[in-house]
Symmetry: C2
Subunit: 517 residues, 2 copies
């Protein structure tokens, strides 16, 4: 068996079922192996950032890794931004990068580059296969690294001759699943802080499941602690019947207000919150200076179990507070960001997945969907824009039959717009609601935040997406996705109903006033 | 003066006039500085790979660096593939990457990553500004590194607080221009080899100018040496009245034939040629094993001057062989790759710039344009696809008033399709001839070359771009570029004439038979 087939079969044996691919010459034997390893589904992307973002979305929903297949250093480079987001989401990914044949590298052919250096910035593990004997053990080790807590991106660099030569048949097995355990001393320390009062219970990671939220809500109710969620959770379970939780604001002034007066901050699956960026004269950390930080569980740990143990320690056996079922009315007239959010809130189907890359235009979306049927909410964990369309693609592949709603800002959509084609090819149930406000509105806001003055037309032009007018409906159709442009609440409601009722991908371009709406 | 303005002014003082930008929060002070430094032209890209590719195209034509402005590690990642191509083209680029404020980095905010590691793979120099005093000297050092032979990508990482705080006004000047000199011993050694006979004179780098080609042709005529050009020159001057030169073939079997029987290989601005990829059972180097390799000039040296000295040493004072003016007839009927090439050859305007990312579909283009009026031909130096649209964008900015013709394959266009918007916004004279053959035809060929068997539908699907059908005309219009789809030679001829006669960007989608044409 050649190395390409052995790699695929080894991954399949470990439960990896999907390979998001943008292959080149050095990966052709992997492509050929797809016919001999039918358990591995190859999903083609037109750009590597789509492949890596889809692997992130897949991992967040399937809770296990997909593989990627990228072409040498430049292919990895193209996939880097969404691997960064995956790293911040703690998404396991088996990141396979092709390389020149072992004996060919020393000739420095045109596509040669330092793949290890490029991979380092996003990977918890980087290995290069140097001999046929190493291949299968390194595949297993890479998979193990990807799934070990905290999960993340593990990169395996595979030279071409390793893929086409025979490799010895080495038997490997997945390591025993880590049995989650709870640190009783940290539970006791957190309980002590909560009994003392003035606590903000700050959750993230695995605490953002229904189970984690129920425990957190019971604790908050029993102790009067404030409950708050990290700004950008990988997957937040929410909606009617699930304990509601506010997220820490992205804007520093709001975040400082949310944490003001906290005597202790108990961290459950989240890290001590810091500003997304530094701003002149503003603090980097958000917690008050005299606030005690108590780590109950790190992002690498099963925070929902820690919360349950904490609830038990505190005798917090009451009922959690659950969000009531409240649907916004369908809006009418010209669209605004709020009108789009209300329409989505009114129509969101039970069990669906929301991918939120709405940036400024979607600021009202969390509030107006809080009372919608239960759903999962995915966010931009690493802040590298261009995650929405690919993550929605991967999420839809992870869970066929579930509708994925991608609330997508215009500026960020353009980084990985090629994902639409993969959605069309695979017939994925993704509805993209594209918020066209003709600008990088977030940057217009950030320009003020950092104290820069953009008085003139030359700087303002850097923040505008017109001229020329961008027509996302035309672009989407060009990639094979049916699309429509809407201007009013009535039109959006009608089109969203239709898109949610029909199978396959669809893009609705919601025309908003220019700038921050 | 704050750091952002000081950086811009220092670059302007060194002759840098354009900054290809995709900024984020950490770069907002640079954006604001554009209004105060009107000598610096900010050109916005919707994706970083467009900005870096445009900087490459600009440098190839302007023969001096532009700056880029990228957002942190993920922004650099998105720009990495085209920085790789720029590195292989020896294009000088001042690559400015924003970073979190110096005091904010230790908090590991979501967008933090190892920017230095990411930059290393493509940069000849990487510096991080740690204090206001360092800024201006480091800007000067980065510029100096970019332009020093061999020119390349020099990266400067600038934390946010450096951009918004005042920096001391330090006077710096560009170093004295390197005065080119010729190594007489290497000239003598090359002359000796040429007098012995059986030589292939292999040119690249600065030898691919009209001046270099004239010297090379005189040498070839005087010594019966074979004249050959590297496979992917950064800029090749060619056309009627300029000495014609064959390029070394991309396909190994052809390349081996071109070099067969060479007793010596004299390198002038090129490196010892190697296979683009390794293929099972094929050699990595292309020159015959017993062939002596004589380096006349490295890519870092002024190869055209070495060739002139060599011609003088050899007494090669005869006239060079010049390509005659021969225009192909305008083809009619259904399109093929050859028909597209003939149409371009028949209509190419004098002095224009051709950016060739035609991959398989454009294989006939060099031959059918050899007798067209003089023009410059830019190629995919680093092999990282997605270079054509951005490089055409930058080339057009470097030389206003000159038509740029981008012969563009479909698969590779999709990596950086966002460049069309910048072409529309800036009103650039770029005509994109998009060869739509609905496939990664190069990979269908490479699959055979590496000896992989793709017997089944699952592997073949990885090499097809349908389904769904891609409509590049619709995509281009969505980005604000006027576009049209053509099926016949007549239609293409008419549309290309019109596009070349009118100002501004235009895309012509040439529909070819599926696969290799």
């Amino acid at each position: 068996m050649n190395g390409a087939e052995a790699l695929m079969k080894t991954l399949v044996g470990m439960g990896v079922e999907v390979c998001f691919s943008n292959p080149g010459t050095s990966e052709m034997h992997f492509v050929a192996a797809l016919d001999r390893v039918p358990e591995m589904r190859g999903v083609l992307a037109l750009f590597e950032g789509v492949a890596t973002g889809a692997a992130d979305g897949y991992a967040r929903i399937a809770r296990k890794p997909a593989a990627t297949l990228l072409h040498l250093g430049p292919g990895l480079g193209n996939g880097l931004a969404n691997l960064h987001n995956a790293r911040r989401a703690y998404s396991p990914i088996v990141n396979v990068v092709g390389e020149h044949a072992t004996y060919h590298r020393r000739f420095d052919p045109p596509l040669a580059s330092d793949i290890v250096a490029t991979a380092k910035a996003v990977s918890k593990s980087v290995m290069t296969v140097e001999s046929p004997e190493e291949l299968i053990p390194m595949v297993a080790a890479t998979h193990a690294a990807a799934v070990a807590s905290p999960a993340g991106v593990a990169t395996l660099i595979v030279p071409g001759d390793i893929t086409w030569n025979d490799v010895p048949d080495i038997s490997v097995a997945s390591g025993p699943a880590q049995s989650p355990s709870v640190d009783v001393e940290r539970v006791a320390a957190a309980a002590k802080a909560l009994r003392a009062g003035g606590v903000t219970l700050f959750i993230g990671g695995s605490a953002t499941t229904r189970r984690g939220l129920e425990a957190a809500s019971r604790i908050a109710n029993a102790t009067s602690a404030r409950l708050l969620c990290e700004t950008f959770p990988a997957v937040l379970e929410r909606g009617a019947g699930i304990p509601p939780v506010d997220r820490l604001a992205y804007l520093g002034d709001f975040a400082l207000m949310q944490l003001a007066g906290s005597k202790s901050l108990v961290l459950a699956g989240a890290v001590d919150p810091v500003a997304f960026f530094a701003y002149p004269g503003k603090p980097s950390r958000y917690a008050p200076e005299d606030c005690q930080v108590v780590t109950l569980a790190t992002p690498a740990e099963p925070a929902e179990l820690f919360l349950e143990a904490l609830a038990e320690d505190l005798g917090a056996s009451g009922a959690p507070t659950l969000a009531p079922s409240v649907l916004p009315s369908l809006p009418s007239g010209p669209l605004s960001g709020s009108a789009v959010a209300a329409t989505i809130g009114a129509l969101l189907p039970e069990g669906c997945i929301v991918v939120d890359e709405s940036v400024t235009a979607g600021i009202a979306a969390p509030g107006l969907t809080q009372g919608s049927p239960p759903h999962r909410w995915l966010t931009l964990t690493g802040g590298a824009i261009g995650y929405g369309l690919p993550v929605a693609t991967g999420a839809a592949i992870a869970e066929p039959g579930t509708k994925v709603v991608d609330i997508q800002a215009d500026g960020s959509a353009l980084y990985t717009i090629q994902a639409l084609w993969t959605q069309a090819r695979e017939g994925l149930d993704v509805v993209t609601v594209l918020l066209n406000n003709q600008s990088y509105a977030i940057l217009q806001m950030e320009l003020d935040n950092v104290g820069a003055e953009a008085a003139g037309p030359r700087s303002r032009a850097m923040l505008d997406l017109i001229p020329p007018d961008m027509d996302f409906t035309s672009i989407a159709k060009g990639f094979g996705v049916d699309a429509v442009r809407v201007y009013t609440g009535e039109e959006l409601g009608e089109q969203l109903k239709r898109a949610l009722a029909e199978p396959g991908p669809r893009l609705i371009e919601a025309m908003l006033p220019k700038g921050i709406s």
